[in-house]
């Protein structure tokens, strides 16, 4: 580059670097005036434009640059960012491939082409590029790139079953062709082992592993050691592994739990490895093994004392397995072991979770265990306090349903409160960044009150739980566990509280707040912050799709093959996260409620929802983080405090169908048009045979899995939407303008972007004429009466509403009914908006249809208005001094036990009732507004 040009281009880069995209465009224009054909400047301008969201202009420039087949590094880099911004990943690959073809001796271009394929997961092409590079540059690194690409292709869901072994055998052959053996570095060795494992060539793998260098690698590399364990297990060499583990535990003092598991597996191998009932001889032999293993574990436990808990835990596991294999000798063994463990580690917080799998005691054993625990309560020091916390938790775990009467639970709650308040003295001097040692007692109080609420159905217990937990939260400000419980309880009562979660946590935790969030926000005057909350929580998915692929490429360049498979899985799990798309649907539901129902909303969301529809979802939601100390005969705290069953894949599928169908009918886009207008790549088609059916057929198919996920009200709603779209569908199909007309319109309004999106317009006009023009010659479909189900739905919801109002339902249940009714109304509006103009009614003789619509709308409106009035009245009633008094009285049980003064409870009461008032009033007003907007 000449220095003069360099001087001109520098400011463009500077502007881009500082995100001053507007000045970058200006700077580009200045250069382009003098040198209209400068490809680099064009590419940079396209980049600035795409960052400014000027997609159309950027597209035009990008196509011009691509047509020049650039090979210059600067141009290629700029274009990579442009195309990424436009979502045209396959064009990035094509661009680098073209460049590399022109300069096959350029190693850097080869690498870039390889990475471009890696980023989009195009393993077959990646493998070919790497092979070519290996031939050209003779570097083993490229050989391993090609080997691992073949492995990844074999792993890919889209690869046919029969092709997989072929690819793996190819990879194996390539390994032996390398200049250096695979144990040159641990990651290459890992690749070699992986291939042998997939091909089930365990003996060959064992030979490698038993080699001196193989052993050495496994000692320092955790990933290689992990795959070694796996192979040995598959090979059936359990006993050999057990022997090694024994040595490691005793001599090297290795306390890796996996070693203990190896030894356990080996001990029971003769019984566990066959499905046939074991002979007496075998039983005797195994019993002997058990005795030996018990000695090993006991020795480890004695040596470690308080330093490590593995030995004692392994003993417990040993007894448990002995029992499950029917080799029981002494009935009290497990209990003795548990008592032993408790005596040593009872003052550690992990004690409860460690012991849980072993405590399903009955009868006499249970009695003894209970009295053992009861004798261990004491509250003298912080250590004994922790011990007592464990005692209370463990006792609670084994409560039988006979012991779970309201009276006994209430007594327990009061005892927990008492010990909690006593325990606070140990944390008086702690800085406020520390957790209070007594926190878990407050958590137990919360559990007891929730259980009381479940037993009696009285809301007052939830209020007591909230008041206690608020008190505890104020004393232990950093306790996220207390906050989690509060979020759940408030959700039942009416409002929500925020948690500060970031990054990946949004995928696993946002369900706490956002599942069925539309229910809370459906009213336009309700909580609009929910919408921004959805957007914020979705950020992680954007950064996943740009960043993770990049790191897969980077892991190739540093040859960390062992990480790549994990990265790919991570990317896939985030990309196809159930929570991601649940949130998407919630966002759509909120948009429909808050925004005008115009073509922009309908068309855009239609396309996006259709993309989601084919995904196979992963559920990454973390429900385990919510503490659970409920007795084993009760559902967990999480299950008890869910207002409705958490939405799963079935729920998502049902709601996707509902909205895709409604949008499809309301939209003018049909599939041929959509194809032409779409910028960027489509998602990879999935291989599920279910998905091969035409979309229309799949949309009307109800599946049991969906029904199971819906609440009763949602089931009614689902039926309603099916009936509605079946009824209105034919009229939509008739009135919808033909694709050719639409494309012509789009071309006219978009003179700026010739070429790319509309290139095959002529073909479209011919190809899809069947469902376009020809139809207009037919008679309009005869107008049918509305199906009975539609008015009935509104009546049903009304009576559900009345029943709940007169009963003692929680606010969340009431809101669910209101929200579902409103959603039905909105969908009705969405499905009928096309038929509103008088011209349409006249042109197609739809007078009678319009009348049916009107009748239904009036009916639904009046029901919704009525609900709105009732809610507004409830809102007024709740936040009065009387309402607060009721709350305070309801929680009298926690005041009795001292400590909580009247004012504190009154404060919580005020907060709760005010929040409820706000929710009710907001939603009441919102309802009225929705009705007005769409009437």
């Amino acid at each position: 580059m000449s220095t003069a040009l360099d001087r001109q281009i520098r400011p463009i880069y500077d502007a881009l670097d500082t995100q001053s995209n507007k000045s970058a465009v200006l700077a580009c224009n200045k250069v382009l005036k003098k040198q209209p054909n400068n490809v680099l400047v064009k590419a940079l301008k396209a980049l600035a434009l795409v960052r400014l969201q000027k997609v159309e202009e950027s597209l035009l420039l990008a196509d011009e640059v691509l047509a020049k087949k650039p090979t210059d590094d600067g141009v290629l880099t700029a274009m990579m960012h442009v195309l990424r911004g436009l979502g045209r990943h396959s064009d990035i690959v094509a661009m680098f491939e073209t460049a590399y073809k022109q300069h096959p001796q350029n190693e850097d271009l080869g690498t870039q082409t390889f990475f471009a394929n890696v980023r989009v997961g195009n393993w077959k092409a990646a493998q070919q590029v790497a092979t070519k590079m290996h031939k050209q540059f003779q570097d083993d690194r490229y050989l391993y790139w090609s080997i691992f690409s073949a492995v990844l292709q074999a792993n890919d869901m889209a690869t046919p079953e029969a092709l997989r072994p072929v690819l793996l055998k190819l990879a194996l052959r390539l390994i032996s062709s390398g200049n250096t053996p695979s144990y040159f570095n641990p990651d290459r060795f890992y690749v070699h082992l992986l291939i042998l494992r997939e091909l089930e060539m365990y003996d060959d793998a064992a030979t490698l592993l038993n080699h001196e260098i193989g052993q050495k690698i496994c000692e320092t590399s955790l990933v290689c050691d992990e795959i070694r364990r796996d192979i040995m297990k598959l090979k059936g060499a359990c006993k050999q592994e057990g022997e090694q583990a024994k040595v490691k535990i005793l001599e090297k003092k290795d306390r890796n739990w996996l070693e203990f598991l190896s030894l356990l597996d080996a001990t029971f191998w003769d019984i566990a490895s066959t499905s046939e009932p074991a002979s007496e001889d075998v039983k005797a032999a195994v019993t002997e093994e058990i005795a030996k293993t018990r000695k090993v574990f006991s020795e480890a436990a004695t040596v470690d004392g308080l330093k490590d808990r593995s030995g004692l835990l392994a003993l417990l596991e040993l007894e448990k397995r002995t029992k499950s294999h029917g080799l029981w000798t002494d009935a009290c063994e497990i209990r003795m072991m548990a008592e032993n463990y408790f005596s040593q580690f009872g003052d550690k917080a992990c004690c409860y979770e460690d012991l849980l799998p072993y405590l399903a005691f009955e009868g006499e054993e249970l009695e003894q265990w209970t009295s053992f625990l009861n004798s261990r309560k004491s509250f003298d020091t912080p250590d004994t306090l922790q011990r007592s916390i464990n005692v209370y938790k463990l006792l609670r775990y084994n409560l039988t349903s006979a012991e779970l009467t309201p009276e006994l639970e209430l007594a327990r709650a009061q005892e927990y409160i008492k010990v909690y308040l006593d325990g606070l003295k140990f944390g008086v001097n702690l800085p406020d960044t520390e957790l209070q040692p007594a926190d878990d007692f407050a958590i137990l109080v919360g559990h007891a009150y929730v259980s009381l609420w479940k037993l009696t159905g009285e809301e007052s217990h939830l209020q007591s739980a909230a008041a206690t937990l608020e008190y505890a939260s104020a004393r232990s400000k950093q306790s996220y566990r207390i906050r989690l419980l509060l979020i759940r309880i408030y959700h039942l009562l009416d409002h929500y509280r925020l948690m500060n979660v970031k990054q990946v946590q949004t995928d696993t935790l946002s369900h706490l707040i956002l599942s069925r969030a539309a229910m809370w926000s459906l009213a336009p005057l309700g909580d609009i912050t929910y919408m921004s909350e959805c957007m914020e929580a979705s950020q992680i998915y954007m950064s996943n799709s740009t960043e993770t692929a990049e790191f897969i490429a980077r892991a190739f360049s540093t040859e960390r093959y062992s990480q790549i498979i994990d990265f790919i899985e991570f990317e896939d799990r985030l990309d196809n996260s159930l929570q991601r798309d649940l949130m998407k649907v919630e966002h759509v539901r909120m948009r429909v409620a808050h925004e005008p129902l115009n073509a922009e909303l309908v068309d855009m969301e239609l396309i996006e929802l259709k993309f989601i529809f084919d995904r196979i979802h992963h559920d990454n939601r973390d429900f385990e983080v919510i503490p659970n100390y409920q007795p084993r005969c009760q559902p967990s705290f999480n299950e008890q405090t869910l207002p409705l069953k958490p939405p799963g894949a079935g729920w998502l599928s049902a709601y996707l169908k509902v909205y895709i169908r409604a949008f499809q009918e309301a939209s003018d886009l049909d599939e041929t048009v959509e194809d032409k207008l779409l910028i960027g790549d489509r998602p990879k088609p999935s291989n599920d045979p279910e998905n091969q059916l035409p979309l229309r057929e799949r949309l009307v198919k109800k599946r049991q899995e969906e029904i199971d996920d819906l609440s009763e009200d949602e089931k009614l709603f689902y039926e309603y939407t099916l009936a509605l779209s079946e009824w209105v569908g034919p009229y939509h199909d008739y009135v919808r303008p033909p694709p050719s007309a639409l494309l012509a319109e789009a071309a006219k309004s978009n003179d700026l972007k010739p070429g790319h999106p509309l290139k095959s317009m002529a073909a479209a006009a011919n190809g899809s004429a069947t469902n376009g023009h020809s139809k207009k010659d037919e008679e309009p479909p005869a107008v049918k009466e509305s199906p009975e189900l539609i008015p009935k739905f509104f009546d049903d919801m009304k009576s559900r509403f009345d029943a709940v109002i007169s009963g003692t339902a929680l606010p969340s249940e009431l809101l669910h009914i209101v929200a579902t009714t409103q959603e039905a109304y909105l969908l009705f509006a969405l499905e009928t908006v096309r038929f509103k103009p008088n011209s349409i009614i006249k042109q197609y003789k739809f007078g009678q249809l319009a009348q049916s619509f009107k009748d239904l709308r009036v009916k639904a409106s009046s029901i919704l208005n009525e609900m709105s009035t009732v809610l507004a009245k409830l809102g007024e009633e709740v936040a009065t001094p009387d309402g607060r008094k009721a709350f305070v009285q309801a929680s009298s049980s926690i005041q009795d036990s001292s400590g909580f003064d009247h004012d504190f409870v009154l404060g919580v009461a005020k907060k709760t009732t005010d929040a409820r008032k706000q929710t009710y009033e907001g939603i009441a007003k919102g309802l009225a507004k929705v009705v007005k907007n769409h009437s």
Binding site: K307, K348, C350, D354, T433, L435, Q505, S543, F551, R560
Partner: protein, 172 residues
């Protein structure tokens, strides 16, 4: 990462973006380690890297954390010794260093127990915890170091490190 909520919801533990974790995993996977309980819950993890030039080549502890319910079991001690072992044997570093908030007294005394000493105090290294008190101590970090076998004369540490203050710009 889908399972670390029980650890990362704690106030002392920072949650980073995807690229942070993937950078470490793609470059120093052997300096990253997770400890799981037998029931599959995550108990704690350590993330580290190797960096520096010449005499300054060392292992660095980027994050070390244990979930509240698995504390007081010497888990941190074990993870630190793993990281020291790998820094020493695989990466041949001279020392291991780490940063810690000056207010995190529990952690500081643990590191001292493990043989670390304060090398210097770094001003305004951390963001505020938003607790609004003693903010100086809160945002400042101690740089703590422990020499490894390649530094038998303990050149990488000094005795009066607490008084040795540098600003955050001067450290990487």
């Amino acid at each position: 990462m889908f399972k670390f909520n029980n650890i990362n919801l704690d106030i002392w533990t920072e949650t980073y973006g995807i690229s942070f974790y993937l950078t470490y995993l793609s470059r120093w996977p052997d300096l990253c380690c997770v400890q799981e309980a037998p029931n599959g819950h995550m108990m704690g993890y350590v993330i580290g890297k190797a960096e520096g030039h010449g005499q300054d080549w060392h292992g660095h502890v980027t994050a070390l954390t244990v979930a509240p319910e698995y504390r007081r079991l010497s888990l941190a001690r074990k993870m630190m010794s793993l990281l020291e072992m790998v820094s020493d044997e695989t990466y041949k570093g001279f020392f291991v260093d780490l940063y810690v908030r000056c207010t995190n007294s529990v952690a500081i005394s643990m590191y001292e127990g493990l043989g670390y000493s304060v090398y210097r105090r770094v001003r305004e290294y951390y963001g505020s915890l938003g607790l609004g008190r003693a903010s100086k101590d809160e945002e400042d970090a101690f740089d703590m170091r422990k020499p490894l076998s390649r530094d038998p004369h303990r050149r990488s540490v000094r005795a009066n490190g607490r008084e040795f203050v540098v600003s955050a710009h001067d450290v990487s």
